[in-house]
Structures are given as structure tokens and as C-alpha cells.
Homo-oligomer: 663 residues x 3
């Protein structure tokens, strides 16, 4: 899908409103510069109120109205919310939790995606929509389902899981070995005895739990591809996608999905208020770009499919975004590769479970600050279409792996709260604060342009992953590995002989013992900072000591080490440094690898991202401070339309985008 | 039910003791001045040990013994605890939680009140009791069941809920509209598909959840009225009631029940130790008086049916009441309209789940401080019978609405912890600390004598409620509305166009955005204090600004406003002021409305309540401090029997009750 | 079972490894001085992969290999982990939680021990093992099952519970009386109506809950004795035991089990890091010794069957033991009577739920600190075999009673967090810190050598227990009773007339009211310290006041009292003193009783325990500080082999064991 203009819009739910409001909405969209709206998510009960009885008239009218108004549609299949009649007819298709609780209609996403009845009904409504609208002129994109992630432990799920396990492991001996069933006498002698990880007496089997997560990712993916194939068959010209859910909840392995979508689309709702939302935005965008690249096999656009116009949903409350913050978040996504900015949702509903969710047209109507800012943002986006050909420049890669995150959650780990995505975020934050743009990569991805590869608590390492890392280093790439990376294989079995088994030789260290720290514990380091969460007995085996622990049983022993391999360096970090130390450490590692910040002269709090297309380049400057900031730069500022000679002043909380002169 | 003497007594459970103890108990009751005991609560398994096999001999003897001792009986129907044989015969009548857990015999209140078998068995035991005792000379009052509140999600409950919904909404279109089922595709096309709000995948439907609370309140009420009608038919002269449970758990809409009882009866167990118990006591008594007035359509007595003689059950432990505190709490209830003082329970049992519950005759027997105080209290109450004709004077009304409390608990609200009863308590506390007595009213109640109406987070407003408030103001009544009041209609659908939809015009404001605060956040106000929990972008639309926010995005914007309508003022308070500011604010609003404290010269910590009957009046003075307090007053002090010329000294933690001279 | 050498070894799971590793393991065992390994725990699915199909070849080889290597085997029955085929064939034998959740295969211990199918399968595998190995020369000990403790609420459990209740109570009247079913109308008229304490509406019945705990202890015990009898029949010469689980989870009454095992065996995993682990170790060892004495009817050895070589599993993380700490913990057990030191587990597995559990051969292999320390410990143990004939000297007895702990957990108690085992630990700690060695006794045990008996919150007292205490005092024994002791009878029914009913006369006090304290509350005492958790209104009735409360409602009233009975003293402590005061108080009570510390001159932080056999004695000195400590002592130090004239220097964190000269 290519387009000259950036996409701009959001989820529109005309089924919640009288037709008079539809006309007002389309007029407001035009006023705000909107050119794409998502329609039909959750509308199943309005499209098929009884089995195979369809009511498409309202959707016909809506799409025609959009077309007349010059707004394109991302038309959704409504399968994330089966109608009440479906629930009633198929109680066996309702999901079951690990403890056996059968869930019921009353919210959304209440189905077992492994239940044949659900799959059949989903295919049917998708096919019926495709037949009717695949050639509608308003249609720009198919949006399948919504935020896939619902799992289940019912007999249907169990059957599908068993089938998946046969595919994965081939025979029972292999499965028994992968799951280490010799521990606690769990050896399976018959496939029929293998089940879902239901509530059990004590700690569950790590291999079984991990495979169940993988199974559900694949099972949901097959539910998606089934629909995609139906839609694609109706009109191969229309791209198909589904929106990924981002955040602490990682229900599927989004990287595996990236190859099956025509455009990676993500929903992003940061949940931290003070500064944190900006870090989270940068990370989310980099993840999405990484998945898009992984899926396409080359740099590719992606789309911010949902974001909140005026609120940050943080623990226990909704924080109202300060003036300008919505625009800053939106342009941060564009800076990092998004093909547009989409909001959830267009108009705030009076009722329903999310009546207080953020909206462009709020309960108070369009005469509001949020709508005025949305209109201004529409104007701004209209000026930035050209940046889309620019490729984001990044020389550092951070590896992210959903399965490593899942494996570290096992309650038998040496510490609770171990968190691969959290460690990815910490490494990303350190580099973000240092002004270094990073790519997020999937183990196995090409690393041609990356001078430094960071593995943050990348717990699982298959032999292929270990080899991928080895090749990077032997090709001269630098490497920085943190604690718990490469400790286990892809089945979460510990690699023996000293940690971290997969990278021990490459790092020139041998870790003998873990020393997990208490939540409030801080271990001083010779570098001046301190370590948290974790520490280790590290033996040097070729590496040199960079930083040592101070005090306690590890006094004087290595905390951070560095191993020279040819011209490359392989760092090992055996604790989590405090934020400041971590930023310095990663800055050092990057500099040794020849990587410098995007805009070295940018003042603290100003985020700089450059997109480059041949000799054309665009510099995004996002001022996260509450004071105006002067940044050395030159070119043409696209928001104000003014030329910049040697420095640009970015207003408090504001953004500048410079079309730079050719170098 | 009228009586010369105040009632005094408590729950007596002779079925737990040998007959020798019964005789000792009645002798102790006489010694303590007890004239009413509740008998038979939970005694079902001793009255009907097998289906339709009755053992009334012991109860015959007990009632005769009471009668001989001059103690009247509040005879209970035992339906709050079905016998084991009932459970065994009717497993389908055991309650089911939202997640499908079927509960079992082993505690109390384990039944589904919508199960036909339960209802039939309850009617039968009530009818059998009525037939035998309706004309017993000891019988003063029927006490139906105990603390109604048990709910259920079983098929019986679902069927009854569906029937109730048909009654309420008439047709499915109306229900779909009220519940906003167009959100998340929950549109119902068949009544058979509408169910109880069972465990579901994510946030439930707010309308469904709210209606389910209302349904259960009504279903339990019908369980009560069925029994009441049976009892009343047997002897129309005997009043019938049931005891309301008070506290954080609000299972039913007690106001709706008030019209169906002959005497509002409440159980009150404060749960705060330091000072808080006294605030809670005043509020509980004012709520009970409000319900009694609502039910009778005029000021009416009510009864404190249960209270704890010597303990405050606070979080995690039982606090032993300090000497004198029991008496002070008891007289606080009498001051605010209770027709007596009843305790749970008379004699502490050796076993059972509540063996450490507070009792008049404790495990240590009658040679105890608590029994001595109870005996003294009996003497005191004997001197206060005349106060009962006095009507409590209050010119301020605070609106309380169970459904608003339920609606604000929905997890989709902009903040967790939103709490209508808590906000009622905060407003009540502010006025209580200011010495101003308040009535608690139900929306729609007559407001003839009230100069100021306070709506504290009264979230729901039907058109009728909005009109009730409008009429009050246009008749010259003052109004003070706090944040989140009138935001939604009676179905919890947001009223659009700017908050608070129901009162926007009356208040002369338009709220554009909410800014919920973090738990530890404090926003300074120009009045000198600070706001907590909540803040808002308030636009003046006729009102004047009284107080503004300081700092942050709301700097300089209105926090408290005032709108003049004729001679009246309509205040809007967009945050929760700190306790001190709130007291000053409400004192100002009351004063402008012409309301002054009951006893302006009373020192801090002395609570003053006046009851007036024509030109006769009684002034209750409760000293909550640990020092003697001198209060300007005149009349005849009823506890000591001494005349008071110009000031009375109330002992530390003590009480004085003055029969005042005619004004 | 007697042996010259101390046992040394741990759990070995060859079924998790290739045969090459078995040979390496046996070689390492020999190097480390290991002479006993536990084999076969959880191996059911490898021994009987399908019903009645056995694969013993690997175990044959393993036992022969051990025998050849001079290592004995504690051969386990594998019944703690039924194979998947069992689960599949007998879904009704899977356990059910109180709320009705049926658990599934996937961990360990997932069975209902009351299910006939489980019991039959368990007997069968035990008999098959017995038939094959009962005369194997490597066999030293049968180890039945593992850490019995799994309970269930299924119909099988309910049937067995009902049968047990008939045995215990005889008739329904007795049960109704014991359970006080007259409260809340729970009176049973038919045995068929009596069930397990399933999830119910509100507080459960204390008698029912307590009996359910007792039932499960007895039901599991019968599961054990069934297996024991099968094993014993095959070769009466081989002792049989099972390993007790210790810690906060007390699933069974270990004292009752002691009579049915040939050797009390305990698993001990302390969970406190700083110093606490050492206190916990001393208490665990004293408990085990007490159970062994109770079971044998005389002092008897016991065995530390599991401990962690290098980790302390504390809240949320695994703490790595500091160098030397493993040895210190191990020798603390030997000092207090253990017949050896066993670890879980020998070799750390690569997978399974406990892949990060502590091990002797860690993931990093044998070239590690932990293995070196284990080898040194083997050498040390080899020098200490002679100490086994020495009897631990203790003149103070502390009573411990599992049922009192269970009863105090009832949510209807006057305070949450009441904890009999915690109070036992507090009294034990106070005496441990004072250098006084204590015996833990079961109510009813002979108290011939004990000068002081301590009852710490020993809530339940049958008439027999009360008489046991009375006889101790009247025989001249001193007594110290703390709050909540003797308040209830064996059915958890309160003894009336004033607390503590069972000991009121003996103590010369009458407690009228409880005053539970808030978690952060401290009540000053005239002794200079303060009380926590609890306080009471104590009336003197023969006793003298030792310490009084200061301030509050109890100001000036007795906190600690002392009653003279002949030459003995009976102390009552009505609050929990702070640690320092408690240590002084118990030191005073011990001194009055003629008990002095084991080694009065030992510096703080050095634990001293003496074992004596006639005129031979051994003094264990454990230095818990991080500095060398000089201790006055004489004899022959067994670890270094050096003579000691008048003082020995114990290294930081180290241990000395002196063979003392005859007195």
C-alpha cells in the first residue's frame, strides 16, 4: 500500500449513532483533514443480527457517505465480538480459563478461537463482507478482527494444542525431552494424555507453558490467515492487516505474524505519565518498524492504527494529555516510520464499557481543545507526506523475542519480576536518552547495517540464534549481552556448563552462580553507579573486567566485562545498572562500535530522529521539555514553512521537522 | 409502632444454651432494663429439623419466659440460614458466583433467593411461625430474615432477571438503547439471549451490571414482602420489618425498601477507631432517619436493630471500645431518631463462626465492665422516653442514591475508587464537624424545610431527578453540586454536550475535560487548601469563580464556582477539597443559605443535636473528647436529673441531654 | 536404624540423565564423601509407563552402580506424582479445591489421596518396588512418597471425611455440640448432610474447618501406613519413613505421624536471609527432635532429609548462601540431633519446574564453590560420627500443637495474623538468643527433665492437656503461658468464665477482655520495653503483677504476672513483648527455674549446643558473626584435630566441635 499523503483518522462507529450524526461526523472529518477511518470493528451483531440474516443497508450508506466525503475506509471484519445469538447457539465455543471457569457473553472477545463453530461463523461473515464490499471505492484496507489475543483451555483448545504439538515435536520422545518431563514424573506415553496447562497443584511445566503460548500465537494466526485469504480472494488489490496490541500484555508473537500481513499495524497506548509515555512511544514505533522489516524482509512502512487523542490510561486513572502532547506523540510515530496517525476513537459514545475512552470528538462535542488540536494535526500531517520515502537511520539493533519474555515469567525462575520486554525497554531507554536511534530486531534478522547488537535478558537461544549472534560478531559487529541472555535453549532448558551457555565463549566469561537481589537492594559498582535486580559470580575466561562489584560476597569480582574478538568487542553485563550508568555504558559501547547520536548537539529532552532517502533527509526534533529549545540544524522547517539557517527553536512540548539540505 | 419507653435489648439465641441459662439470661435482662429481644434469627434448623417436621416447644417456652419477665420479643423468621436438609434436597438453590462457583452449606446466607424451592420453603416456615405466634403476648415485632443482600448468578437468577428486564424495559429496542449494546457488538435480538453478568473476557456492560444490582434489590425485596404479607395476614396489628445492613457493602437500595417496612431498622457497625466511629454513627443514624422519612412520607422513628456493645471491628482486628463509648454511640442514635438501642448479641457463644463477636454478656460472664455499662445504659434510656416525640432539626439535605454508588464502581470509569457513599460521607463529615445537622434524602423527596441541598458525586440523574433539583432551586433553595454529579442518566449513559449534563444550566458552567488525579496527588487551590482525587476543565457559563486551581494545566481556571438564580446560589465544586477546606466551603454555603450550627457555642469535639416537639425541645450534647467540656445551655439534665442554669459540664467521653426551657 | 557414620548425600534423579552421567555422579559422590542418596521420588512414570507395565531395568542398574560405589540408597515410592496415564484414566481422582476447581496433571501432587483408584495404584507400585528391591544390598531406607500434604474437597474426600467424623464423634448430637452448629442454624439431622467445607457465603464453621484439617492429616497418614505396611512386610529389617515438609505450610499434624515412622525425617528450607535462617534452622531441628522423641517415647535420632546446598528461597527470589553458611546450617542440624545431612538435590536439572532449585552439582558443573564446600563438608561429617550417641541437653520445653495453629487461622478470631507456630518461633528465638537450648514438646509428652514449660499461644486445650500442664506445675515444674493459650477446648469452643479458661486457676488470673492491637501499635510496659499484637484486661486472682501496661485504657493494669504454686512459678504474659524484653523475660523465668545457658561465656552471635553421653560430651560452637570469636572451652576440636586448652577461636561464619574432657 503506497500513498502520497499520510493516513489520518481513527475508529468510527456509526452504528452507535443516528444517521444525522453520520453527516455531522463526515463534515468534521473533512474539517480535520481525516482521510481514513476504520469501520465495522465489533459490528457483527448489527450486520448479522440472526444467523445468516444480514443488515448491510446502514453500512452501504456509511461507506457511500465516506466515499462522497473523500474519506477512505479500513473495513473491519467484526469477529472480535460474536453476537449474543452465537454465544447462545454455541456454549462450547465460549472460552475457558486455566482454572476451568467458562466465560460468558457480556464484554468483547468472548470466544475460543479453536472452536470449529466460531471459526466457521467468522469465515462466513468475512466472506459475506468481502462479497459485498471488496470493490467499494471507499475501501482502502481490510482490517481483520481486533487485537488478537484471546486464549482458552477448553477441549477444542486442547485438541488443537495436541495437533500443534505433533507438528512441532513429531514424536513423544522429542516432546518429553523438550519439556524435561523426567522431572516430577510427567513422562507422556500417549499423545492422548497431553493436555493444556490447566490449573494444577503447584508449579507447572515450563516447556508445556511455553509451548501453549506459542500454540495460541499460531492458532490465532491461522484464524487470521483464514479470513485474510477469503478477503484477498475477493480482491487481491486491497491490502489486509490486523492491529497488534502492544503493552505489558504480549499474547502473541507479533514477529511471526508480520509475514502474514500486508502492513504491520499497531495499537499503542502508553501507560506512564511523566516522560515515560515518550519513551514508550519511541519503543513502540521502533518495535513496529522492526516487525515490518522482519515481515517484508526489508525496511517497510507500518501504521499506528490506534492511539488515544487525549488521555494516558495509567494505573488506576486516566491522565489527560497536556496541550501539544497528542501532536508530539503522533509525530514521534511518523518520525519512526508510521504511514499515518489513527485514533481510537472518533466520537466518544454515551454508553458501553469504554464510554470514557479517549476520543477526537469528546462528550463535550467538537468545541473543545482536543478537537482543535486534532484539526491542527491534520494540517501538519498534510505537510509531511514526503517524509515517507525516508528510511530511519539506525546503527544499533536490540533483539526482542516474545518467547523469551514468556519463559522468564515461569514461577520457578530464581527471581520474580524477570522481564525480557522490560529489559528491552531499559536498554532502549538508555540509548534513547543518549540520542541514539535503534532498530528492534528479531533473532535471525539481517544485521548488515548494525554496528552494535544488544541482547537484553534474551533468555532463550536456539542453536540458530546463537549462530546468528556468532556470525554478527565474527563479521566485525559489536555485541552487548546482559544477564540471563542465552541461558536456556528454545525449550527453556538450561544450557549446562556455566552461564550463559549460548554466548559463554563469545563473551569470554563463565558465570558460576546467580545472586538475585531483593527489590530494594542496590549493589555499588566501581563505575560509580550501582546494580539492581540481579548479580552474578562471573569468571573471566578471555574477557577483561570493565567494572567490578563493590562489597558483599562479590566484592572485587567482575560486573561488566569486555571480550575482544578481532576488531569487535563483546560486552557482558551481569547486573542491571542504574539508568544513568546504563546510558553511559551503552553510549561507550556504541561509540566503540562507531555509532554516534543522531544529533549530538541536541539539548537534553529534545529527541532527534532522521529519515533519509538517498541524498534527501528529514530531521524530526521533538521537544519534550516545557521550555523552548534551540537546536543546531539547517534546512526548511515543514510545520512553519520557514527556512532554518543554523539553528531552529522548537517550542515547549512542540515539534520541528526539517527538510535538510543535501550533505 | 409507638411506645412510651425506648426499646432496649438485642439478639438473644436461647437455642445455643441449656434452659438453665435461659432463666439466668432473663434475670440479667431485667437487671439491665432490657425490654425487647430479637429471637429466632438463624434458628430454622432448630425449628424445622426435617422437612415439615417442627420443634416449637423450646420457642414456646422461651417466649413464655420472656413474657413472664416483662421482655417483649422481635420474633424473626429464620430464612437467612436454610437448614442442611434444604441444601441437600435442593442443590440448585445454592448460590453461584459470577465466575460460576457454586457455594455450599457451611456459613449463613447460602441460598439463591430467586430459586423457587427456596422461596417456597421460606414462605412455609414464615407461615408456620405466624400461625403459632402471631398473637403471642410477648410478640412486639416481626423481624423478617436478616440483612438481606445475598445475590446469585444461577439459571434461576437469570430467569428472574430476564423477567425483571421485561418489566423494566418493555421491549428489546429499549433495553438495547439503555445498555448501549451497539458498543462492542452486544445488540440483543432475542430475550432468551439476555443473561446475568457472568464472568466475561474483559470489561462488562455498565447498563447490564447496574440493572443486575437493581434487579437483585427488587428480587430480595419481593422475597421480603412475600413473608411480610404472610405475617401481616396472621395479625395485622403486629408491625413487620427487616434489618438493613449498613457499611461499605450496599447490596440493596434501602430507600426502595423503606415503603415496605413498618419501621426502618438498621444494623450499624462502625469500622473506624479514632474519632471515625462517631462520624460514622452520626451518618448511619441520619441515613436511617432519611429512609424512615422517605418510606413514611413524613418524619418517622426508626430503630437501631444491631450494634456492638464493646467492639469496633476494624481492618484486621477487633478494637475494644473505651469505657463510655458504647453509651455515647447508643445515645447518638437516640439523638438522631432511633426508637431504641439493640445489640448483637446478648450472650457470647462458645462456638460458631462469630464466637468473638461483641456481646452484652461476654465469655467472662456478667461480672464485667461491659455488662455494668449496659446496665447503666438501661437506666439512662429509661429516663429518655419522652424525647421520642421530638423531631430532629435539620435545614441541610444531602442526597444519597444507592444506584449512583453502584454505577461509579464500573471499571471503565476515568478513575478507580470513585465512591458516591464515600463522597456523601465526606460532605456529611464536613457539616458534622461544623456542627450543622443534616438530613439524608432520596432524590425526589420533599425538600420543604431544607435551605441547602448537597449532591455529592450523585452520578446518575434521571430527568425526574434533574427536575427535582431544578424545582428546589427555583423555589429559592440553595444548591451545592460536586464533581461527577448528574454526568449520566439513570442507565449510566453519559449526558452529552459538556458535563454535568443534568445540571449544567442550573450551575452556569460547562465542563470540557476531566483531569483525574493520582492517589497521592494534591492540587493547590486559591482558597488556601488543595484538591484531591479529581479536577476538571470548567468553563464559566453564567457562574462566577469562587476558587481557582493553582499550577499545572488548570492554573487559574475555576475549581469552585457559584451561580446566582434569584436569591438562591448554585455552587459547583469540581474537585474534592481537603477536609478543612471542605468544612469551610460547606459552612459558607450553609450560612449563605441561612443555616447555622445547632449549638454555635459548643466547643470542638462536642456534638450537639436538638429534637423539638412544638415548644418542647431536647438538646443532646455528646463529648467526644477526653476532657470535661463546658457548654452554654439551660434546662434540666436528664441523665443526672440536675437543673442547668447557663452551662452544663459534659464529662470526658460522656453525654448530657437537656430538656430545654421553652424558647 | 543405627550407623557409625553420619549419613551424607541427597536426592539423586538418574532418570533425568543419560547413563554416562550416572557414572560421573557416583564418582563425584565418592569424592564428596556421600554415603546415602534418595532415589526414585517422582519416578512413577518412568517405572510404570503404562498401567502394570514396568520398566525397572534402569533402576536395577542405578542401584547396582550405587552399591558398587559404596553409596546406600533411600529408595522412594514415587506416589507423589502419578503418571499422565493415571490422570487420564481416573479424572475423578484429581483434586478439587474448596471453590470447586478441579486440578489437572501438569505439576506434582495432583491427586486426591482419598480416591480409591489412587490408593490402589499407590499400593500396587509400592508392592511392586518392594518385591523387587526389598533385599537389594544398596537399600538402607524406604522413603515413602514426598512431603505429604495434598488435600481435596471432592466427593471421595467428602465420603472419607464423613466416615472419619463418625469415628471421631460417634453420633450427630456430639458432632453438633462440638461444632456449635446451633450458631447460624447449621444443626445436622442426618450424616448425609455433613460435607467438606466447600466455598460458602461467608465465614465457615470453626469446628468443621478444624476437623477437616485433622481428617486430612489422618487420611494422608493412612495413605502412608498402607504403603509402609506393604514395604515392611517385604523385609522387616529395612526402616521406613517419609519426609515431613516444614515451614509456614503445616498440612498435617507431624507429631501424630511420628509414631508411624521408623525415623523422623524432615525437609528444611529456611526463608529468611539475615540471621533469620539460623534461628529457623535451630527451631526446625528442635521440632524434628521433639517429634522423634514423641514418636519413640524416648530421645531418638532424626534425619535432615532435604536442605538446600546453596540457596535460601526467600520472598520473591533465591538468595545465594554466603561461603560457609551451608556447612554451618548442616552442622547446626547435627548439633541438634540429625543423623546426617541430605540435600535436594544432587544435580541441577536442565528443565522442569525446579530447574533453578539449589543443587550440589550445579548447572555450572562440579568446578564450583558449592561443590568444593560440599566435599569439605563430607570430610567434616566423617569426623563427627561419634557425636551421635550424645543426647542434646535441654531443660526448657516449648509446646507446639499443629491444631492450635490451624484453629487460630479462623477469620472470626479477634485479630488476623494470629499464629501459634509464629509464637512458638518467637519464644524459641528469645531462648536461642539467650543461649538456652530448648526441647519442643507435644502436649502430653513426658516432662521429667524439663524445669520450665512454655505455652506460646497454645490456643486449644483439651481437658487432658490442661491436666498435663497442671501435673507439671504441681510436680514443681515452672510454667510460662502466653496470651490465647488455653482459651478454647479441642473443638475450638471457648472455655467460658474468663480467659484463659484452661489455666486460669493455675495462673491466678482472670482475663476479662481482649484488646487486640493494630499492626503498627506498640504498648509501653513498665519493664522498659513494649507489647505488640495483643493486650488484655487481666485481673489478679492470686498472682502478683510483674509488669504493667503504661498508658491507654490498660494503664497500670497487669501485663505480665507470676503465681507461686509451691516452689514453682506460673507466669502469664498477656501481650507479645518486643524481642529484647521477651529474651529478658524468658531468661528470668528460666533462671528462676534453675536453667542457665549452655555456654554462658559464649559471645553474642555464637550458638552453643552440647550433646552428652554419660560422661562424654561434645560442644558445638557455631559462629554466626563475620568476625573470629574466642570462646572459653576445653577439649579436642574435631574439625581441625587440634587440642584446646582454655579457649577456642571459631572462624567467621565457621564452626568448632569440641570433644570435651570428662567433667
Amino acid at each position: 500500500m503506497t500513498t502520497k499523503a499520510l493516513w489520518y483518522g481513527g475508529d468510527w462507529n456509526p452504528e452507535q449513532w443516528r444517521p444525522e450524526v453520520w453527516h455531522e461526523d463526515v463534515a468534521l472529518m473533512r474539517a480535520a483533514g481525516v482521510n481514513l477511518v476504520t469501520v465495522g470493528v465489533f459490528a457483527w451483531s448489527r450486520l448479522e443480527p440472526a444467523p445468516a440474516r444480514y443488515t448491510f443497508d446502514w453500512l452501504d450508506e456509511v461507506l457511500d457517505l465516506l466515499h462522497a466525503g473523500g474519506v477512505r475506509a479500513a473495513l473491519a471484519t467484526p469477529t472480535a465480538s460474536p453476537p449474543p445469538w452465537f454465544t447462545h447457539a454455541h456454549p462450547d465455543a465460549m472460552p475457558v480459563t486455566a482454572d476451568g471457569t467458562r466465560l460468558h457473553h457480556g464484554s468483547r472477545d468472548t470466544y475460543c478461537a479453536a472452536a470449529p463453530a466460531y471459526r466457521a461463523a467468522a469465515r462466513r461473515i468475512a466472506a459475506t463482507l468481502a462479497a459485498r464490499y471488496a470493490h467499494h471505492p471507499a475501501l482502502a484496507l481490510w482490517h481483520v478482527h481486533n487485537e488478537y489475543g484471546t486464549t482458552c483451555h477448553c477441549p477444542h483448545a486442547e485438541t488443537a494444542f495436541r495437533r500443534w504439538l505433533v507438528d512441532r515435536h513429531g514424536d513423544l520422545d522429542t516432546l518429553n525431552d523438550a519439556w524435561a518431563t523426567s522431572f516430577w514424573g510427567q513422562h507422556y506415553a500417549d499423545w492422548a494424555h497431553v493436555g493444556a496447562p490447566r490449573a494444577t497443584q503447584y508449579l507447572g511445566n515450563p516447556g508445556q507453558l511455553l509451548d501453549f503460548r506459542r500454540f495460541w500465537s499460531d492458532e490465532l494466526l491461522s484464524a487470521y490467515t483464514e479470513q485474510r485469504d477469503v478477503l484477498r480472494a475477493a480482491n487481491p488489490a486491497v491490502p489486509v492487516t490486523t492491529n497488534y496490541v502492544l503493552g505489558d500484555w504480549v499474547p502473541v508473537d507479533h514477529a511471526r505474524w508480520a509475514r502474514e500481513v500486508d502492513l504491520v499495524a499497531v495499537d499503542h497506548y502508553p501507560d506512564r505519565v511523566d516522560g515515560g509515555a515518550e519513551e514508550q512511544t519511541a519503543l513502540a514505533a521502533d518495535l513496529a518498524r522492526g516487525w515490518a522489516r522482519h515481515g517484508a524482509g526489508r525496511p517497510a512502512p507500518w501504521l499506528l492504527m490506534e492511539s488515544a487523542p487525549d488521555r494516558i490510561h495509567t494505573a488506576g486513572r486516566m491522565h489527560t494529555k497536556e496541550p501539544g502532547r497528542m501532536t508530539r506523540h503522533s509525530l514521534a510515530h511518523v518520525a519512526r516510520g508510521s504511514a499515518g496517525v489513527m485514533f481510537f476513537q472518533w466520537r466518544a459514545p454515551a454508553g458501553g464499557a469504554e464510554h470514557f475512552h479517549s476520543a477526537v470528538v469528546s462528550h463535550a462535542g467538537p468545541e473543545t481543545r482536543v478537537f482543535r488540536e486534532a484539526t491542527d494535526l491534520g494540517t501538519t500531517l498534510g505537510r509531511l507526506g514526503a517524509v515517507q520515502t525516508g528510511r530511519i537511520e539506525a546503527r544499533v539493533a536490540i533483539a526482542y523475542d516474545a518467547a523469551s519474555g514468556w519463559a522468564l515469567r515461569h514461577p520457578g525462575m530464581p527471581r520474580t519480576g524477570l522481564d525480557h520486554p522490560g529489559e528491552v525497554a531499559a536498554a532502549h531507554r538508555a540509548l534513547w536518552q543518549a540520542g541514539v536511534t535503534t532498530d528492534l530486531v528479531v533473532p535471525g534478522d539481517p544485521l548488515d547495517g548494525h554496528r552494535l547488537l544488544v541482547l537484553p535478558a534474551l533468555y532463550l537461544a536456539s542453536d540458530a540464534t546463537a549462530e546468528w549472534v556468532r556470525r554478527h560478531v565474527h563479521a566485525g559487529g559489536h555485541l552487548l549481552v546482559t544477564w540471563l541472555s542465552g541461558v536456556a535453549d528454545e525449550h527453556a532448558r538450561v544450557r549446562l556448563g556455566g552461564y550463559p551457555g549460548a554466548y559463554r565463549d563469545l563473551l569470554g566469561v563463565r558465570v558460576e552462580e546467580f545472586h538475585p537481589l531483593a527489590d530494594d537492594e542496590r549493589v555499588p559498582l566501581t563505575s560509580g553507579g550501582f546494580g539492581r535486580i540481579w548479580s552474578e559470580t562471573v569468571h573471566l575466561a578471555g574477557a577483561e573486567q570493565v567494572t567490578a562489584y563493590i562489597g558483599g560476597v562479590l566484592d572485587g569480582r567482575p560486573a561488566v566485562t569486555r571480550h575482544r574478538i578481532g576488531d569487535a568487542r563483546a560486552w557482558y553485563v551481569s547486573t542491571r545498572p542504574d539508568d544513568d550508568s546504563y546510558r553511559r555504558l551503552l553510549t561507550d559501547a556504541a561509540r566503540l562500535a562507531g555509532v554516534v547520536p543522531t544529533c549530538p548537539a541536541a539539548p537534553p529532552g529534545v529527541e532527534a530522529v532522521r529519515r533519509r532517502d538517498g541524498d534527501r533527509s528529514w530531521l524530526f526534533l521533538l521537544n519534550h521539555t516545557d521550555r523552548p529549545q534551540r537546536v543546531p540544524a539547517a534546512g526548511h522547517e515543514l510545520l512553519t514553512g520557514e527556512p532554518v539557517d543554523d539553528r531552529v527553536t522548537v517550542p515547549p512540548g512542540g515539534v520541528a521537522v526539517l527538510r535538510e539540505p543535501p550533505c
